[in-house]
């Protein structure tokens, strides 16, 4: 009975298409009202079920991940559970105070100082003033903004702003915490810090529902996961099994070429600059599978509506569990051939002379970045490929998944101790 934190039964949410920005004008409503009697039935607007009949139980203290493609209904589920929007049908019981973290820095005001924003943001997130006062020093220390406490946040750098915003949110202490993708901001060091804090929260016995595209983060934090697809709940189970199912269903089959213009994996995008991605073997033939240790060429074409300043082109390889195995971009390995002041279109090529991966299905994410920081376009798991077993050491012993994630070329040298060396070199000493 009491060990359930959230019980949802048949939660559904219907949106009229375009209901997001479409305030009516008074004139339209009046005209519609006047003409309605003459048209008989009111024409039905096109509708979409953002969430359809979702039933799930989440235990007290459980940390549950919510995964799925963009538009699968993850955020809608969180918005309903945090009471921001009402379900169209269904019912949910929530035991305990809910804190929702759908964005960092909600309600921050640029004209106010860091100190003032801590109080304002804390109150907006549902903290009592006494609670904020008690945690004030901790928040400031976590955000590392002691010196700028009394500076208006409009003078803050992006990093400082995000740190402060996350710091306030991270010190919320509701019984149930709903988190949506807030870790996808800031630089790597900051993300690591956020992950650490989230880990503390997760281990602190609180119930957490965590929506993220970052499968590694979901796997690190959560014990169970829900998989949503087009508004319906298609899988609930251990985080490993759910992630595996998600990847199997949405990662796509290995293919030698993928069109990226309407790829569902597009997550952060200013414009659809990425056009096409394809794979080639060492001889330049298109392929969707390569043997272990063979060369692999990944190539994508891009075109932007305006020239991109100091453009960056990135490749990230993930394994079947969603773990990033390696990444490479032109900022890491700059050369005359990949550095431009501005560039609007072309092709980018990742050349791996010998792929050090074990047999599995792998996914490649590709990105275009402006001036080291700003996302132009990013397509997650844009294309999949297979690595076949091969006798990479020429010994007939093929490494397998239990041996690790990658294989390397090297040698194993054995140096017998001096006493034994005599025995060995002496040859036939035993006889």
């Amino acid at each position: 009975m009491t060990d359930i934190a959230i019980r949802a039964q048949g939660l559904s949410k219907l949106y009229r298409i375009g209901e997001r920005q479409p305030y009516k004008s008074l004139r339209e409503s009046i005209m519609k009202g006047l003409s309605a009697p003459f048209r008989g039935e009111r024409s039905c607007a096109e509708t979409i079920w953002a969430l359809r009949d979702v039933s799930v139980e989440i235990g007290l203290g459980e940390v549950v991940g919510v995964i799925g493609r963009n538009g699968a209904g993850k955020s809608t589920l969180l918005r309903i559970l945090s009471r921001i929007t009402e379900p169209t049908a269904g019912r949910a019981e929530v035991h305990g105070r809910v804190g929702s973290l759908l964005e960092v820095g909600t309600g921050f005001h640029l004209e106010l100082t860091g100190r003032e924003n801590i109080y304002l943001n804390g109150a907006i997130l549902g903290m009592k003033r006494a609670e904020i006062q008690r945690k004030f020093d901790e928040i400031v220390a976590f955000a590392e903004i002691e010196r700028f406490l009394d500076t208006p946040v409009k003078h803050y750098s992006t990093g400082m702003y995000l740190r402060l915003a996350f710091a306030v949110a991270a010190h919320l202490e509701p019984e149930i915490l709903l988190v949506d993708e807030v870790l996808a901001v800031g630089d790597a060091a900051f993300q690591k810090k956020c992950m650490g804090k989230m880990g503390d929260v997760a281990r602190g016995g609180r119930t957490v529902l965590f929506v993220s595209h970052n499968l590694a983060a979901v796997q690190a934090l959560c014990s169970r996961a829900l998989l949503l697809q087009a508004g319906t709940l298609v899988a609930v189970g251990t985080v490993q099994s759910t992630v595996a199912r998600y990847l199997a269903e949405t990662g796509g089959r290995p293919a030698s070429m993928e069109d990226l213009r309407d790829h569902p994996g597009r997550t952060r995008s200013r414009e659809k600059a990425l056009k096409r991605v394809w794979l080639e073997d060492g001889a330049g033939r298109s392929c969707s599978a390569v043997p272990m240790g063979a060369p692999l060429h990944v190539r994508f074409s891009f075109g932007s509506s305006r020239p991109i300043r100091n453009p960056g082109f990135g490749f990230g390889i993930e394994d079947g569990t969603g773990r990033r195995v390696f990444s490479l971009n032109n900022y890491m390995v700059p050369s005359d051939a990949n550095t431009f002041a501005t560039l609007a279109s072309g092709e980018a090529l990742l050349e791996v002379p010998a792929l050090p991966l074990l047999p599995d299905t792998y996914y490649i994410s590709v990105s275009v970045v402006e001036d080291q920081r700003e996302w132009v376009d990013f397509v997650e798991r844009a294309i999949a490929f297979q690595v076949h077993p091969s006798d990479c050491y020429g010994s007939g012993k093929i490494p397998e998944p239990s041996h690790g994630v990658v294989f390397v070329h090297g040698s194993v040298v054995v140096e017998p101790a001096a006493r034994d060396r005599d025995a060995v070199t002496g040859g036939g000493g035993y006889g």
């Binding site: 949106y15 305030y23 945090s82 929007t85 929530v94 759908l102 309600g107 009592k128 016995g205």
Partner: protein, 284 residues
């Protein structure tokens, strides 16, 4: 969990019937209300060069213009009070009402960021917008005291009614603000209606002229003088002058009528707001 007290249970389901006002929840969020009022005031004064001076300048300049045109040139009656005092006294409460109404009618649309990301009783937003005007009112009030001292006019016992009349202005502004802020989410026309509405409303409120000008005309039509109190601000403005400036009027029935309409607006506004707020996050 550490505490033995049972966890609060929240049931989430579609609202079917008339939504309850849930004033208890509003009370729980009083600190948020406080912080939003505090933010509004802080930001308003921070962003302007003259800051709090605007709270005084606006009614003062308007009163000066009214004095020249309506007091001197048109020679409009002022219940025996010096016209500058008469008009500034009226403008003081009127400005509070008009500001509160305009601020709150845009408040929900202006808080789209908050509404789509965090849950809290949405009623907090328009109420905070009206409340933040109280500070301007408090800033402009001493100027009235200075003018009274200059003209040698002292309030009588009726001055005790001033807080109640200010409360009635607050109630009226909140009531209209709730209606308009909720309507504004669905019909963005409201943004254009508000300045127009405020302007017209000023003319049907005894700010420029006293209620005594209109009363005989109503009576000639066989209507009671208090009928004008249907405009809640008629009772407030007339009453404020009576209470503060000891104007020789007896606005009792007018105030009573205004109280009824003021609270009717507040209640109906609150219910309407609660009824439509469930779709705010989807539409705003």
């Amino acid at each position: 969990m550490k505490s033995a007290e049972p966890l609060p249970l929240v049931v989430i389901e579609p609202t079917r019937r008339l939504a309850a006002l849930r004033l208890g929840e509003l009370w729980e969020y009083r600190e948020l209300l406080y912080f939003l009022v505090w933010r509004d005031i802080k930001v308003r004064y921070k962003q302007t060069a003259l800051g709090a001076a605007w709270a005084i300048l606006q009614p003062l300049m308007t009163a000066a213009v009214f004095t020249i045109f309506f007091g001197r040139l048109a020679k409009i009656a002022s219940d025996g009070l010096p016209y500058p005092l008469f008009s500034y006294g009226g403008l003081l409460v009127w400005t509070f009402f008009a500001q509160g109404l305009s601020q709150s009618s845009n408040s929900v649309v202006g808080s789209a960021q908050l509404i789509t990301k965090v849950y809290f009783p949405r009623l907090v937003i328009p109420i905070a917008a009206v409340l933040s005007g109280l500070v301007d009112f408090a800033v402009a009030l001493p100027v009235l005291a200075i003018m009274m001292w200059y003209y040698g006019i002292w309030p009588g016992v009726a001055v005790l009614a001033v807080p109640l009349l200010a409360l009635l202005a607050l109630v009226a502004a909140t009531g209209v603000g709730l209606w308009l802020s909720a309507l504004n989410v669905e019909y963005r026309d409201v943004r254009y209606v508000v300045p127009f509405l405020v302007q017209l409303w000023l003319f049907v409120t005894p700010v420029i002229y006293p209620a005594s000008v209109l009363a005989p005309r109503l009576q000639r039509l066989g209507l009671p003088a208090w009928l004008w109190g249907i405009n809640p601000m008629a009772g407030v403005v007339e009453g404020f002058r009576w209470a503060m400036l000891d104007a020789p009027t007896s606005p009792g029935p007018l105030i009573a009528a205004s109280t009824v309409t003021g609270f009717t607006l507040l209640l109906s506004g609150a219910y309407y707001f609660r009824r439509v707020e469930r779709s705010f996050a989807d539409v705003v």
